[in-house]
């Protein structure tokens, strides 16, 4: 009897925490998109108001960033400082490729973030501003979608995890 009870508890704990983990993914995506937005804002002001060269600008703003997004910018700045002959676009894509496993973003988000590198640093201020504006707008849209997803699915995942566990326990008992 005791063993049965412990088994049931383990099953319940596993499935519930599984549900919570799934739910946490939605929250993390929203959070990461927000950090990206802040990061772009910070980088934009470094570029537009102080004309700081990209490597310095990136290393300066990376210090103020939260995890895990700071890893992307950290690597990006690092690649730029190496002067290995990569343009900002290439460096940015490399940084994302190597850090995307740390992020909770979906394909669409990654595509947008990637697109940000395209004109980064290769044009005058006016066009830099346009690039930033576009990407910030796109991120805003993604953020709305992500919030919506979270609202819909977060509760669902949590409940589903618990209920699935309960169902399993009932079946087995």
């Amino acid at each position: 009897m005791m063993i049965k009870l412990i088994g049931c508890l383990i099953i319940m704990a596993c499935s519930t925490s599984g549900g919570y983990l799934l739910a946490a993914g939605y929250t993390r995506r929203v959070r990461e998109l927000r950090i990206f937005q802040h990061a772009l804002q910070a980088l934009e002001s470094e570029i537009l108001f102080t004309s700081t060269p990209l490597p310095q600008a990136v290393s300066r703003m990376t210090r103020r960033l939260e995890r895990p997004v700071n890893r992307v910018f950290d690597l990006f700045g690092h690649i730029l400082e190496q002067r290995d002959g990569h343009t900002a676009d290439e460096a940015w894509n490399m940084a994302i490729d190597r850090t995307r496993d740390l992020l909770c973003l979906d394909y669409e988000d990654i595509d947008i973030v990637r697109g940000f590198g395209k004109n980064l640093g290769s044009t005058d201020k006016e066009n830099q501003e346009k690039t930033f504006r576009l990407v910030k707008y796109q991120l805003e849209e993604q953020l709305k979608k992500a919030e919506e997803m979270r609202r819909k699915n977060e509760k669902l995942c949590k409940n589903l995890g618990f209920l699935l566990g309960a169902a399993l326990v009932i079946l087995l008992v």
């Binding site: 570029i47 004309s51 990209l54 600008a57 002959g85 343009t87 640093g121 290769s122």
Partner: protein, 347 residues
């Protein structure tokens, strides 16, 4: 007559040549895409030391210039005179090179780009051509970069040594000096070393070193990259980078109390007034002018007028007769006598 080509022992040339010249030309390597780095890497140290310009033009072969010659560069970094073997530069190469030159921050060099050239680390200057965008009759920017000309900046530390005894006066005095030289004869290189020695002092002459102000209108003397001189211009030297000469001279007099002001290529009407102002303030002038000889310079409107007023105490005439930096004459302007050289005295 003597050239400073032969006496360049002070510079770290030799040690650098042994390390393949890579460190010395690091900034140039960093400025070009990887495929072109490989080509430049294939050149011999001797070739590297002779090269004055690397020319990248989209759709044209990769060309290097030096010592009045030019050569194509092949894909594997050999120089050749055969057009067919040369590497043809692509538009991507030039576009990418521009980005690499400015640390992927084109927005940060717009002011320089408007002038048609940028200064990279190491003080090398890169001329840029492409499609010019104008606004209200003024150049706004250059885009679609089609051609880049990397002009290798070489400091020849110690090239002015033999001239210093004629330029300094006692422990702290400096003669107002004019360097007369045709283009490509090393007047900027010479002036830069004179600035360094005036600023650091010349122990051999018992000259202590004075505050020097440099107005570096075209970023050639100090080769400032992000405000920091890349060339050795001395410990007591203040540099106003890319500042118009006349204004710069006034600013330095007011702000930095220099003992000597050095500029390259005096020649505009407003420069005249600024130089007079400096002399009135007790500041000495060391400067250069384009010209073949003293007679030639005396005919020039602005500098001729200045010479006639007896402002300059020393004149140095350069030529290319025995390589860049051949000193033809050193003239004592006070009694119109040639101190050195065999070119006859001033009429």
């Amino acid at each position: 007559m003597y050239t400073y080509e032969k006496q360049r022992p002070v510079m770290d040339d030799r040690s650098v040549a042994q390390s393949g010249g890579k460190e010395r030309y690091r900034a140039i390597f960093d400025a070009v895409p990887v495929n072109i780095r490989k080509m430049i890497g294939g050149l011999t140290p001797k070739e590297m030391d002779d090269i004055e310009e690397f020319r990248l033009k989209a759709g044209a072969p990769f060309i290097v210039y030096g010592r009045n010659q030019s050569a194509f560069v092949t894909r594997d970094g050999k120089t050749t005179l055969d057009r067919a073997k040369a590497y043809t530069v692509t538009p991507e190469d030039t576009e990418k090179a521009l980005q690499l030159m400015c640390d992927c921050s084109v927005y940060s060099i717009m002011d320089e780009l408007r002038e048609g050239y940028i200064t990279i680390r190491g003080g090398h200057r890169v001329g840029v051509v492409g499609k010019v965008v104008t606004e209200g009759g003024r150049v706004k920017t250059i885009k679609e970069i089609s051609g880049l000309n990397i002009r290798v900046s070489r400091q020849v530390i110690g090239c002015g040594s033999s001239l210093m005894p004629h330029i300094v006066r006692g422990r702290e005095g400096v003669y107002n000096t004019l360097i007369i030289s045709p283009p490509q004869c090393g007047k900027t290189t010479l002036l830069r070393d004179i600035i360094r020695q005036l600023s650091d002092g010349v122990p051999a002459l018992g000259f202590f070193g004075v505050k020097v102000g440099v107005v570096d209108e075209r970023s050639e003397l100090a080769g400032c990259y992000r405000g920091i001189p890349q060339n050795r211009v001395g410990i007591r030297t203040d540099v106003l980078d890319s500042c118009p000469k006349a204004q710069g001279i006034m600013m330095l007099i007011r702000a930095m109390s220099p003992a000597v002001i050095a500029t390259d290529e005096l020649g505009r009407e407003e420069d005249l007034a600024a130089v007079r102002e400096a002399l009135n303030a007790g500041v000495n002038i060391v400067t250069t002018v384009h010209g073949w000889n003293m007679e030639d310079v005396l005919r020039k409107p602005v500098i001729g007028k200045l010479l006639c007023t007896g402002v300059f105490e020393r004149a140095v005439v350069l030529s290319r007769r025995r390589g860049p930096g051949t000193v033809e004459q050193v003239i004592d302007m006070d009694n119109k006598q040639t101190i050195r050289g065999n070119w006859g005295s001033l009429a």
